[in-house]
């Protein structure tokens, strides 16, 4: 690469300055979909889409240092949160297809994701399969060249505005636990699908329940092989550098700084300084992880960073309510601190509870013996 890191950063900074939308994203519904797609399209046209994706699939395959520079500038420019409706496609379904998809699947889906044409949603959790994902029961029976799907998913992010769903189902009826599952591309306009948005304690509905009543999905939509879905789901992380969440982390540091600037009360200063130091440590950990991941496998360190982020995000949100009080305009505003605070309660639940994450870290990083849950 002939461009220096400084030049790259300057180019990113000036593009973001000119292109970051003036207004934040609507919280839910079709407007949030249009906003997310328009932002993705603009990034694609500017040459700033798929920065972490391999070049072979139209990505930019930036070095880790460039990714860090980009996400620092991204947060600095207050660009739309990367934890939006594009998140599943860009950071989950897309990487899974890259790792395990057929040539046809990749050729059809990857450009659509990158160019801002489609929204993907998740379909993993079930009413009785939360932290214990492997106990999922939604069935897909093979009939001819189709799967016939019956069952229910829950906490499916963006299902009400999604075009495609990454759907993990039990395709071997005799199987249990991690065996006999398949990872399937499900078009959300297929007959037999009912989506019911879930209002959360934070207000807007970015999650939904999804019901499947004899939904017919072509076998060619299976990714990574029939009954091999657990492996497919795990492969998502194969080129994860942890940089996708850097912009979120930096936004968190910015929020801590805003709290410090707004607060002179010595009583909460200790709390704020701990938050400040911990946010600095989170950055140091994430950069270390990203740099290491470029030269070899990094194991389960990423799960520590995720948990650290989740708990720090909750503490920052809670501190902001302590400082401003429940009736302050910045708390009550539409994208305000009140929403952030309530939404932060999902941080230590979504994607595996903090307690289950702790078990996993203790077993995989520290080698402590497995016990009952």
């Amino acid at each position: 690469m002939s461009e220096s890191l400084d030049d790259f950063r300057a180019r990113a900074r000036s593009w973001l300055q000119e292109n970051v939308p003036e207004h934040g994203s609507p919280m839910e519904g079709p407007e949030s979909r249009e906003y997310a797609l328009a932002w993705q399209k603009r990034q694609f046209e500017g040459g700033w889409a798929g920065l972490t994706w391999p070049q072979a699939y139209g990505g930019k395959e930036l070095s880790v240092l460039q990714q860090i520079a980009w996400f620092e500038e991204y947060a600095r420019a207050k660009a739309p949160s990367t934890h939006n409706a594009l998140f599943v496609g860009m950071n989950h379904a897309g990487p899974t297809l890259i790792a395990c998809g057929t040539d046809e699947q990749k050729a059809f889906h990857l450009p659509k994701i990158m160019q801002g044409e489609v929204i993907w949603c998740q379909g993993f959790s079930e009413p009785n399969a939360g932290s214990d994902l492997a106990s999922l029961r939604t069935k897909g029976l093979v009939e001819g060249d189709e799967l016939v799907v019956n069952g229910q998913k829950i906490w499916s992010s963006y299902a009400d505005i999604g075009d495609y769903q990454e759907l993990l189902i039990r395709t071997d009826p005799a199987s249990s636990r991690h065996h006999g599952l398949s990872w399937v591309i499900c078009a959300m306009d297929t007959p037999g699908i009912t989506v019911r948005p879930i209002k959360t304690m934070a207000g807007p509905a970015k999650y939904a329940e999804v019901f499947y009543d004899n939904v017919r999905i072509p076998l060619s939509n299976i990714v990574g092989g029939l009954n091999n879905g657990w492996k497919t789901a795990m492969a998502t992380l194969s080129f994860e550098r942890g940089t996708a969440s850097l912009a979120l982390q930096i936004s968190l540091s910015q929020r801590v700084e805003e709290l410090i600037a707004a607060n002179d009360d010595a009583g909460v200063s200790d709390t704020l300084m701990d938050l400040r130091a911990d946010a600095a440590a989170l950055r140091a950990m994430s950069y270390q992880f990203a740099i290491k991941s470029e030269t070899g496998p990094v194991g389960s360190e990423g799960s520590m960073i995720r948990l650290y982020f989740a708990e720090l995000a909750k503490r920052v949100a809670s501190a902001s309510i302590d400082i401003f009080g429940i009736g302050a305009p910045q708390v009550l505003a539409e994208h305000g601190l009140g929403f952030d605070y309530f939404d932060s309660y999902s941080e230590t639940i979504a994607g595996g509870t903090a307690e289950i994450q702790r078990n996993i870290i203790a077993e995989r990083v520290l080698g402590l013996p497995r016990g009952s849950r």
Partner: protein, 334 residues
């Protein structure tokens, strides 16, 4: 070399430095009241441990504060006397005062140095019984005194905190001094490093014990309550280690925000050390409460180091005085 973290070469180099540590400084030595780390003072000087980051022409090893921080993290693991930190800071102080001759003598191991913290009433000396010089740390920086100049010395304790503590009056007329601006980050970095080492050592101790100690017929490490403590401990260690490396690299590169990073490292490491040393005792159960177990030695040393840094409250206040690059109108590095 990485622009954010210690490089593989730096880590490897420090590995070679620390090989003698286990033999010279087994933690068990602290159970013997008559032991003193000053017995190994000249050996430490010969290894170059006091002048890692000072240039060769000043009698140092000519490496950076990155290697120095990594080495002092190992010193923390082995609960090496804070006097060793005093030697490094005293040599820097002498060098900053333009007294290269004194710096050379300290680096050569000719003059053993002890450390003290300035208090409202005077100074608190730590492990000073074998020293000829005393480096006093305060919020204003460092001052170096000959021990003969120190009046009203009184032994406060030798057993409770597992190290000799003395009170004394603050003398006048230091033979060398350095301002907070010039040496504050070095003090904070070396203390953060030792506290990080303590957090790491107690994590390993706790995990090893949780794997072998059996109750109810199984290893206690299979219980979620123990696992969750251990996970908190390992996350503390990861945060403290990476923050230490990140801040040391920022300091070595004289990045504009290096003081912020080092101040953060101290706050993170102090809390990590207190949490981990406490949980290590808890995980060891009754054994952890006994004097013969090493667990209490780590807790006590964490308190001594925190005191030398001026206390956690002061460390937080010092962090408050720095500017983050994520604050308003601030520019990112790079």
């Amino acid at each position: 070399m990485s622009i954010f973290h210690a490089s593989a070469e730096q880590l490897e180099l420090v590995e070679s430095f620390v090989r003698p540590l286990e033999e010279l400084f087994p933690v068990a030595r602290l159970h013997r009241a008559e032991h003193t780390d000053y017995d190994n003072w000249v050996t430490a000087a010969e290894f170059g441990w006091f002048g890692i980051s000072l240039p060769e022409e000043a009698g140092g090893i000519g490496l950076s504060v990155v290697e120095e921080a990594l080495l002092f993290a190992q010193f923390g693991r082995h609960l090496i006397s804070p006097g060793f930190m005093a030697a490094s800071l005293a040599a820097k102080t002498a060098s900053l005062s333009g007294n290269d001759e004194l710096a050379q003598k300290i680096l050569g191991g000719e003059i053993p140095v002890a450390i003290a913290r300035q208090t409202a009433a005077g100074i608190t000396l730590v492990d000073a019984e074998n020293a000829k010089l005393c480096l006093v740390i305060s919020a204003e920086g460092t001052k170096l005194f000959p021990v003969e100049a120190i009046q009203q010395r009184a032994l406060l304790d030798r057993t409770q905190w597992s190290i000799a503590l003395e009170s004394a009056a603050l003398p006048g007329n230091p033979i060398a001094q350095a301002s907070e601006e010039d040496i504050g980050a070095s003090i904070n970095l070396l203390i953060a490093a030792q506290l990080t080492g303590i957090a790491a050592a107690t994590l390993e101790m706790a995990v090893a014990y949780a794997q072998i100690r059996q109750q109810f017929g199984v290893a206690i490490g299979s219980f979620q309550a123990i696992k969750h403590y251990c996970t908190d401990m390992v996350m503390n260690v990861q945060a403290a280690k990476d923050m230490l490396s990140f801040s040391a690299v920022a300091m070595a590169g004289n990045q504009p925000d290096h003081r912020f990073q080092v101040a953060s490292a101290l706050v993170v490491a102090t809390r990590a050390a207190f949490f981990n040393t406490g949980k290590n005792i808890q995980i060891h159960g009754g054994m952890g409460f006994s004097a013969e177990c090493d667990a209490h030695l780590f807790l006590k040393r964490a308190h001594v180091l925190e005191t030398l840094a001026g206390g956690l409250k002061a460390s937080r206040a010092a962090l408050r005085a720095e500017n983050s690059i994520f604050g308003k109108d601030a520019a990112f590095t790079g």
